[in-house]
C-alpha cells in the first residue's frame, strides 16, 4: 500500500493496538520544561512508579525564565520554585537538564534541533503545543498534556488514535520580502484555525523544498494554530546537512546508515491524504494579523474584512480595530522578535539586515530575545549585536519571554505589540495587551518606523 510520510513514521512506532481502541505509540524523545512537568513528576512519585527511560528525556528551563541578569537568582518566587523543582526532579531521576545559564539552555523547540536531538523518523513529544516545530525534520512531533507527560514518564509510550492526514502544497517562487512566517500565516488565514483538528499536516511543494531548516521550523511550529496536532516536511539534503556534526547527531558510518533510512521517509507517489490543499507562492505577501486568533490574518496591504459574527466583532473590539480599515500607519509602541517561531539565527539576520544603518523609532520598546544560548552566541559572533545596538535595540537573554509573558517581559494594557511569536490571543503577552503577529522583517520595520508600514513597497 502507498504510504504517506506520516504513515511511515507512525506505523514504525506502533507497539500494539488496543481492541476497538487506540494504539500504543512508542516515543523516542521526550522534552520537558518547568511548567508542565512538575505535576507529572509528583504523580509518578505518589504512585511509586519509576521513570521508565530517563535517557530519552531532555529538559530545559524556558517558559518563565528572566531575560535579563540570568546569573542572579530568579526574582519571582513562583517561577523560582518551578525552576528549582525542575532541577531537583531531573537530578533525582538522572535526566539531562540544560538549566538557566547552561550553554545549551534555550526554548525547548530551539534547543533540541540545534543540538541534533531532533532527527527524521523519530516520534517526539513535549508538554507544549509547539512541539510541532520538530516536524520540520520529518519527525512526528506533537504537544501533550501533563497526564500524558506522566504516561511517557511511566512507559515511554502514549495511547493514541491515529490522526487523519492532510497535505498543504505550495508551489512557485516566493516574492521578495515574503518569509516562512508569512507562508504559514497565509495558510492559516486561508484554512482557518480549526481546519487541521484531528489531522497531521504534511507541507509539500517546492516552496518548502527550497526553504532553510529554520524556515521549515517556523512553518511546522504554527501547524497547531490551524488545529493540527503537528506538521511535517519530508527530510532531504538540507535536513541531513543541518543535522550532521551536531552534538547528538549520529556519527560517521552510523550517520550514513541513518541517512539511507531517512531518505525513505517521504510520501509515496499517489499516497492518499484525507484532505489536500494547493496554493501558489505568488499569491503570498507579507502578512499581519488584526484579531485575536492566528487565523485572523491579512496581507499587510489589505484591509480588515467585515464579518457579522459576534466572536469576530468581540475580537476587533478587543484589538480596537474597525472592520474595513487598513493597519498601515497604525502607531505601535512594542516590538518583540523572539519565541520558538522566530528566534533562530536566520530571524536575527533578517532583522539585522533591515535595521543596519537605521535607528529605532523613539516610541518603540523593542525586545530581541534569542531562542537559545547558542543563538545568542552566534548573534554576537556574527556582529549582529553591534548592528542592533547601533540601531538602538536591546538584545536580551534567551527564553520564551513575551511570547506568553510568564516572566517580567509583559506588554502593558491596551498597547499594540508587533510580535514574531505564534499566538495573538487576548492577554497572551500580558493582561489587556494587543498582539499583531508578523515576520521578523515586518517586526524590524515596525520598530524602525514606530508604526506599521507597507513593507511590500520597499521590494517592488
Amino acid at each position: 500500500m502507498k504510504k504517506t510520510l506520516f504513515d511511515k513514521v507512525w506505523d514504525a512506532h506502533v507497539v500494539d493496538t488496543v481492541k476497538n481502541g487506540p494504539q500504543i505509540l512508542y516515543i523516542d524523545k521526550h522534552l520537558i520544561h518547568e511548567v508542565t512537568s512538575p505535576q507529572a513528576f509528583n504523580e509518578l512519585e505518589a504512585r511509586k512508579i519509576p521513570i521508565f527511560r530517563p535517557q530519552q528525556i531532555i529538559a530545559t528551563a524556558d517558559h518563565n525564565t528572566p531575560t535579563q541578569d540570568q546569573h542572579l537568582p530568579v526574582k519571582d518566587e513562583m517561577s523560582r520554585i518551578q525552576l528549582t523543582q525542575l532541577s531537583k526532579n531531573c537530578k533525582k531521576n538522572n535526566i539531562t537538564l540544560y538549566e538557566l545559564g547552561h550553554k545549551y539552555n534555550g526554548i525547548v523547540h530551539v534547543m533540541a534541533p540545534e543540538l541534533g536531538i531532533t532527527q527524521p523518523g523519530m516520534t517526539m513529544v513535549c508538554g507544549d503545543s509547539h512541539t510541532s516545530t520538530h516536524g520540520a525534520f520529518g519527525s512526528i512531533a506533537f504537544g501533550i498534556g501533563t497526564s500524558q507527560v506522566a504516561q511517557v514518564f511511566a512507559s515511554q509510550c502514549l495511547l493514541l488514535t491515529k490522526p487523519k492526514s492532510l497535505r498543504v502544497s505550495v508551489n512557485g517562487k516566493l516574492k521578495n520580502g515574503v518569509l516562512p512566517k508569512d507562508v504559514i500565516l497565509y495558510i492559516i488565514s486561508k484554512l482557518g484555525t480549526n481546519s487541521g483538528t484531528g489531522y497531521f499536516c504534511e507541507y509539500a511543494g517546492d516552496v518548502f523544498e527550497n526553504m532553510s531548516m529554520e524556515g521549515r521550523m517556523t512553518v511546522c511550529n504554527m501547524s497547531i494554530e490551524m488545529g493540527a496536532r503537528g506538521g511535517m516536511i519530508a527530510p532531504d539534503d538540507s535536513t541531513f546537512t543541518y543535522i550532521k556534526d551536531r552534538k547528538f547527531a549520529p556519527k560517521n558510518d552510523e550517520f550514513n546508515k541513518k541517512v539511507d533510512y531517512w531518505k525513505t521517509l517521504s510520501s509515496d507517489e499517489g499516497a492518499a491524504f484525507d484532505k489536500e490543499y494547493f496554493m501558489d507562492a505568488e499569491d503570498i505577501e507579507p502578512m499581519i494579523t488584526y484579531g485575536t486568533n492566528p487565523g485572523m490574518g491579512i496581507k499587510i496591504s489589505e484591509t480588515i474584512p467585515t464579518d457579522n459574527d459576534p466572536s469576530f466583532q468581540k475580537s476587533l473590539q478587543y484589538m480596537n480595530f474597525q472592520a474595513g480599515e487598513s493597519l498601515i500607519n497604525k502607531p505601535v509602541n512594542f516590538v518583540f522578535i523572539g519565541s520558538c517561531t522566530n528566534s533562530r539565527i536566520e530571524d536575527f539576520r533578517v532583522a539585522a539586515n533591515y535595521v543596519k544603518g537605521k535607528l529605532k523609532a523613539k516610541n518603540v520598546t523593542a525586545w530581541l530575545v534569542p531562542g537559545s544560548k547558542q543563538v545568542e552566541s552566534q548573534i554576537i559572533k556574527e556582529g549582529l549585536k553591534d548592528i542592533f545596538n547601533e540601531a538602538g535595540f536591546e538584545l536580551r537573554q534567551p527564553g520564551c519571554s513575551a511570547c506568553l509573558a510568564m516572566n517580567e517581559d509583559k506588554i502593558p494594557q491596551n498597547e499594540y505589540c508587533v510580535s514574531t511569536s505564534n499566538r495573538n490571543f487576548e492577554g497572551r503577552q500580558g493582561q489587556g495587551s494587543r498582539t499583531i503577529l508578523a515576520s521578523p522583517l515586518v517586526a524590524a520595520a515596525t520598530a524602525i518606523e514606530g508604526k506599521i508600514i507597507d513593507i511590500t513597497k520597499q521590494f517592488n
Partner: protein
C-alpha cells in the same frame, strides 16, 4: 480518577466561539506545581475586571446560571497544551463541557481528568443555548453509557461520539497509566527490535 456517572444538572451557557486555553486559565496562573487551586482562576480575565471585581454579565457570575455542565461555543479549548485548563474547569466543578467542536489536545486532557467533552451538532448546540435562554433552570442529562445528551422536559436529545476505550476508562475511573504499565513487557520487546 473519579468514576463518571450520569449527570443531570443545570448548565452555564458560554456562547463564545474559539475559547482558547489562555482565556480558560491565563499563563500567569500556571506557576503552581500541583493540580489544585486552578478552579479559582478559571476564565479569570473574563470573570473579573482589572480591579478584581466580578464582571456581572459574565455567565459564571450570573446567579441565574449554575450547574456542572458548561455549554460553550464552537472550537472550545484551542491554543496551548496546558492541562491546567482542564484542571481549572474540573476545579471549578464542571463535569461536562458541551460544544460543537473541541480542540484536540484539550479534548484529550479533559478525558484524562474525568471531564467529559460532549461534541454536538451546531444545530443542537443552538437548541441548548435557546433552552437556557428560555429557562435558566432548565436541566440537561448527560448519559455516557448511552452516549446521549438531552434537554429534560422536552424530547430533544442527541447522541455523541466517544472513543470506546476512553469511555470504558471514564466509566470505571481508570487511567492510561494503569493500562500502559500492564503492557511493559511488550513495550520492552518492541524496544529490542525497533523497525527503524
Amino acid at each position: 480518577m473519579e468514576k463518571f456517572k450520569t449527570y443531570i444538572s443545570k448548565a452555564i451557557p458560554l456562547n463564545i466561539a474559539n475559547v482558547d486555553t489562555d482565556q480558560i486559565i491565563p499563563a500567569r496562573f500556571l506557576k503552581a506545581t500541583d493540580k489544585k487551586g486552578f478552579g479559582e482562576n478559571v476564565f479569570r480575565d473574563w470573570r473579573f475586571d482589572k480591579t478584581g471585581n466580578p464582571v456581572s454579565n459574565f455567565p459564571l457570575n450570573n446567579a441565574s446560571y449554575s450547574g456542572s455542565i458548561l455549554i460553550a461555543g464552537d472550537n472550545f479549548g484551542c491554543g496551548s497544551s496546558r492541562e491546567h485548563a482542564a484542571w481549572a474547569l474540573v476545579g471549578y466543578g464542571f463535569k461536562v463541557i458541551v460544544s460543537s467542536f473541541f480542540a484536540d489536545i484539550f479534548k484529550g486532557n479533559a478525558l484524562n481528568n474525568g471531564l467529559l467533552p460532549v461534541q454536538v451538532s451546531k444545530s443542537f448546540l443552538l437548541q441548548l443555548f435557546s433552552a437556557i435562554k428560555l429557562d435558566s433552570n432548565c436541566q440537561f442529562e448527560v448519559n455516557l453509557e448511552n452516549q446521549t445528551i438531552s434537554i429534560k422536559g422536552t424530547d430533544l436529545s442527541e447522541s455523541f461520539n466517544i472513543d470506546p476505550y476512553k469511555k470504558t476508562c471514564m466509566i470505571n475511573g481508570y487511567d492510561d497509566i494503569d493500562y500502559l504499565l500492564s503492557k511493559r513487557e511488550i513495550i520492552e520487546a518492541f524496544e529490542l527490535q525497533k523497525p527503524y
